[in-house]
Amino acid sequence: MSAPVLVARGVGKSFLGVSVLRDIDLELHPGKVHGLVGENGAGKSTFMKILAGVYSRDTGTVSLEGREVDFGHPVQAMRAGLATVFQEFNLLPERNVAENVYLGREPRKGPIVDRRGMVRATRELLDGLGIDTIDPLTRVGSLTVAEQQIVEIVKALSFDARVISMDEPTAALADHEVELLSSIIRKLKERGVAILYVSHRLAEVFALCDDITVLKDGALVSTGPAAELTPDELVRRMVGRPLTTFFPEKEEGTALGDVRFAVRDGGNDYVSGIDLEIRAGEIVGIAGLQGSGRTELVEAAFGVEPFTRGTVEVDGRRLRLGNPRRAVREGIALVTEDRKAHGLALAQPVLDNALLVIRGVFPGRTRAARHEVPGILSSLEVSARGGLAQEVRYLSGGNQQKVVLAKWLATRPRVVLLDEPTRGIDVGAKVAVYRLMRRLAKDGVAQVMVSSELPELIGMADRILVLRDGRIAGEAPAGATEETLLALAAGTVSDGTVDDGTVSDGTVAEAIR
C-alpha cells in the first residue's frame, strides 16, 4: 500500500469541558475511499470539521503529505489540497457555476478577472467528470439539487485537492443521482485522490469504500479494510444494539378505522393522477426518488400548492383545501422537510413556537393549549436549557423537530403529514418520533410518512405508495423489500400493486444502475 496522504493521530476535541472526540487515529491513502460511519452524534462531523479547518483540535496531530498541518479556516485547508464538501451547499444561487466554483480565488490576468479562463477551467473539470449537462454559465439557482452537489464537488476539485472529504453527499440525492455520484467518486479514485466519505447509507459505504472507520460516542471503534466487515457487523459496531429496536411495535388497540383523508384523481403543476385513501389509525408511507413529487404531494394535500384537479375528502366531506390555513382548520398537520425554513421561527422561544399554529389559526384555544404545551413537550422529551423561554435556534436538530411536532400536536390533528420527519436528527429523537407516530395511530390519526430512508418506511408504514415522475407508480404492502420499492420508484417494473414483495434480481440490478 502506498504512503498515506493524510494521517490523523490522537485527535481529540471538547466543547466547554465536554469531550466530544477522543483519540481518533485515521489514515487516508491516495486512490482509496475511506468510509467514516457512526450514529448521529458519534463525532463524524466534528472530525471532518477539524480536518477542514472549521474547528481547531484540542489534542493530536494531523499531517498532510508528511507535514503537520493546523488549518484555521476551510480555505487554508483547501489551498493545502484538502477539500471538504459540506452537507449544506455553499453556493450562491444568483451566480453562475463558474463564478461559484472559483468564488474567493477568481483567476486573474493582471488585475482583471479572467472570466474566459474561469469558464474554460470549469468546463474542463465538468468534462473530466463526464458531466456535459451543466453549462458553466448557468445560474446555480436553476440547477437541481444533484447538479448543485456536483458543482460543490467541482469546486473541491478545482483546488486540485488530493484529499476530498464528503459529508453525506448523497443525503439529498435520488438513487440514480447517487449512482452518478458514485461514478464520479470512482473517477476521482482513478486520479489518485484520497476520499473521506461520511454516509448513513451503509450499502453505499460498502459499495464504494476501501476502508471503513467506525466511530461511536466520540471514540474510535475500529478502522480497517471494508472487506473485513459485513453489514451486520458494521451496524453492530455502530450502534451496539440490534436493529429491530429502531421501530417500535404498533401499540395495542391500534385499529384501522374509516377513511379519514382521501384524494381522488388529484393533480396540480407538480403531481398528477393522485388517488389516495388514508384510514384512521393508518400510516401510509410515500417512497420515491428525489424530485418524484413526494414533497409536492404532501404540500398539495396541505394546500401549500393545492390540487387544481380532482377532489379531496376529509371524513367523507368533499373540501377544497386552497391554503394551509384551510387544511389546519380541517385538522391536517404538515411536518415539513426543512424545519428551519418552514417549521420554526428560530428567534422565538420554545413556547411561542409550540403555540404558533394554535395562535395563528385557533386563537380561541390559546389559553387551553398553553396549559397543555408543557405536557406535550415533556412527553416528547424535549430538552432545552432555558425551558419554555429558550429560543429554538439554540436547540439541537432533534429537539427542534420535537418542538415542531409539539406545535402540531397542540392542534389535536386528525391527519398528520410527515415529510422526512427524521432527517438530520439523532437516534434518540428518531425513536421518539416513531413512538409518537405509533401513539397517534392508536388514537385514530391518519398519517402519511414521506421518507428517503426505505427501511424506515418499511418499518413504520402499513403500506407504501411509490411515486415516480409526479404520479403514483405503485403500492407495496408493509413487508415489501427495499428492492421492490426501488424498482417501482425507478420505473423498471410496470406500475401496479406488488403483492409478494419480490422482483427478480436482474431487474433490481438494473434499477440500481
Binding site: N40, P93, G218, A345, A347, R359, S378, R385, G386, A429
Partner: protein, 387 residues
C-alpha cells in the same frame, strides 16, 4: 454520543424559569439591549433634572410626557411594522395628511368632529391596507411601497388643499392634544395626550401578547414557517400596516391639538419613529423586540433633544447627536445579539448539541446549548442556498 448531562434542574416538566433565574434575568436585563434603553432614558432624565430642577416637578414632567406622546404613539405603530419584518416610511406623510384633513374639514364646526374623525380613521385604514396588500400580495418591498405612499400622500393632500390648511380645527377637537384634566393633586394637570398614550401603550402590550400579536412577531421572524402554520401572512402584515397607519392617525389628532395645523407637522416622523424603535433594541428585519422598549426609545430620543435645549446647545447639533446615538444604540445591540436576523434560512448558527441518547429521562438539561459550537448529528436539510 453520551453527554453526561449535568442536571441543574431535574424537575420533570419544569418549563418555567425558577425564581433565582428570574432575578438573574432582571439583573441582566438592564444591560441587555432591551433594557439598555431604559438605562439611557434614566440617565438622560437625571441629566435634564440636574440642569433644570424644575423639570423634575410632577407638573413639568407630565408636560414632558404630553409632548412625547405623539412620537411614542408613532413609535408603537412603527414597532409593529418593523417587528413583522417591514418598514413604514409613509407615517410622516400620513400624519400631515390627517392634520390637514382635520383642519380643513372640521373647521370651527363642532358638529363635524365626529364624521371627520370617522373619515380620518377610514383614511388611516385605507392607507394601511394599501401598504399592506401591495407589500404582501404584489411582493413589492415595503421600503418601496411606503416610499411611494409617502410621496403620493403628501403630494395628494397638497394638491387637494393648495398646500395650506384653512386653519386650526375647533378647540373642542384640539382638546385631545392640548387639554386635559385640571386641578388634580400632585400633578395638577393631566393632559389627555398622556391618557391616550397610556391607553395606546396598554393596548399595544395587550395586543402583542394576544395570539394575533404573537403571530405577527412570528411572521416577522420567519414568513414561511408562519404560512405553513396556517397563519394568513398577508392579513397579519396588513394588520401591522393598519396599526401603524392608525397610530399615525392618532398622532395626527394629538399633534393638531398640541401644535395646530401646518404642512410641516409630521415631517420626518417616519425616521424619528424608526430611530426610536431601533433605540429600543428592536431589530430591523423583524421577529425581535419589545413594544415597551420602543416607547422608551421614543422617550429617550425626546429627552435627548430636551437636554440639548436645556444645555443651550445650538439646534444645528441636534441632528449630529441623533446620528451618533442611533449608531451607538444599534452597534450595542448588534454586538450583544450577534445573530443577524434578516435571512433565517441562511443563519450561520452554531451547530446545536445532540440530545441525550435514547433511554434518558426527559430533562430540562443544562447542556451548554448554543453557547458554543457543538458537534451535532447531521442536520440533513439541504439548502439550495438563498431565496
Amino acid at each position: 454520543m453520551t453527554l453526561p448531562p449535568p442536571r441543574a434542574t431535574t424537575q420533570p416538566g419544569a418549563g418555567l424559569p425558577s425564581i433565582g433565574r428570574r432575578l438573574a434575568n432582571l439583573g441582566l436585563a438592564l444591560v441587555s439591549p432591551r433594557g439598555a434603553v431604559f438605562l439611557l432614558l434614566l440617565v438622560l432624565l437625571v441629566a435634564i433634572a440636574l440642569l433644570n430642577p424644575r423639570f423634575a416637578e410632577p407638573e413639568q414632567f407630565i408636560r414632558f410626557i404630553q409632548r412625547v406622546a405623539p412620537i411614542a404613539i408613532v413609535a408603537i405603530g412603527q414597532y409593529f411594522v418593523i417587528v413583522s419584518g417591514e418598514f413604514d416610511l409613509s407615517m410622516g406623510s400620513l400624519i400631515t395628511t390627517q392634520v390637514v384633513v382635520a383642519g380643513n374639514l372640521i373647521g370651527q364646526d363642532d358638529a363635524r368632529i365626529l364624521p371627520v374623525t370617522l373619515l380620518m380613521i377610514a383614511i388611516g385604514v385605507i392607507v394601511g391596507v394599501v401598504n399592506g396588500l401591495v407589500t404582501t400580495l404584489l411582493k413589492v418591498p415595503s421600503f418601496i411601497v411606503t416610499l411611494g405612499m409617502m410621496l403620493a400622500l403628501l403630494g395628494g393632500v397638497f394638491w387637494w388643499t393648495g398646500g395650506a390648511a384653512t386653519g386650526n380645527p375647533s378647540d373642542t377637537f384640539r382638546q385631545l392634544g392640548r387639554g386635559g384634566i385640571r386641578d388634580l393633586p400632585v400633578i395638577e394637570f393631566l393632559p389627555w395626550a398622556v391618557v391616550v398614550l397610556a391607553i395606546a401603550l396598554a393596548a399595544a402590550i395587550w395586543f402583542s401578547k394576544r395570539p394575533f400579536g404573537r403571530a405577527m412577531i412570528a411572521v416577522g421572524d420567519n414568513v414561511e414557517t408562519a404560512r405553513y402554520a396556517g397563519i394568513r401572512v398577508w392579513a397579519t402584515k396588513t394588520a401591522a400596516f393598519v396599526i401603524s397607519s392608525l397610530s399615525a392617525t392618532i398622532a395626527g389628532v394629538l399633534l393638531v391639538g398640541y401644535a395646530g395645523v401646518h404642512p410641516s407637522v409630521g415631517r420626518g416622523y417616519e425616521f424619528i419613529a424608526i430611530t426610536a424603535v431601533v433605540l429600543g433594541g428592536v431589530v430591523l428585519g423583524g421577529g425581535r423586540g419589545w413594544v415597551v422598549a420602543a416607547v422608551a426609545g421614543a422617550f429617550a430620543l425626546e429627552a435627548l433633544f430636551t437636554l440639548l435645549n436645556f444645555a443651550d446647545i445650538p439646534s444645528t447639533y441636534r441632528d449630529a447627536v441623533q446620528g451618533v446615538i442611533i449608531i451607538a444604540a444599534v452597534a450595542y445591540a448588534a454586538v450583544t445579539f450577534r445573530g443577524r436576523r434578516q435571512r433565517p434560512s441562511r443563519l450561520a448558527e452554531p451547530p446545536a448539541p445532540s440530545t441525550s441518547p435514547p433511554g434518558e429521562e426527559p430533562v430540562v438539561s443544562a447542556t451548554p446549548a448554543g453557547s458554543a459550537p457543538h458537534p451535532s448529528g447531521p442536520d440533513g436539510t439541504t439548502q439550495q442556498g438563498g431565496q
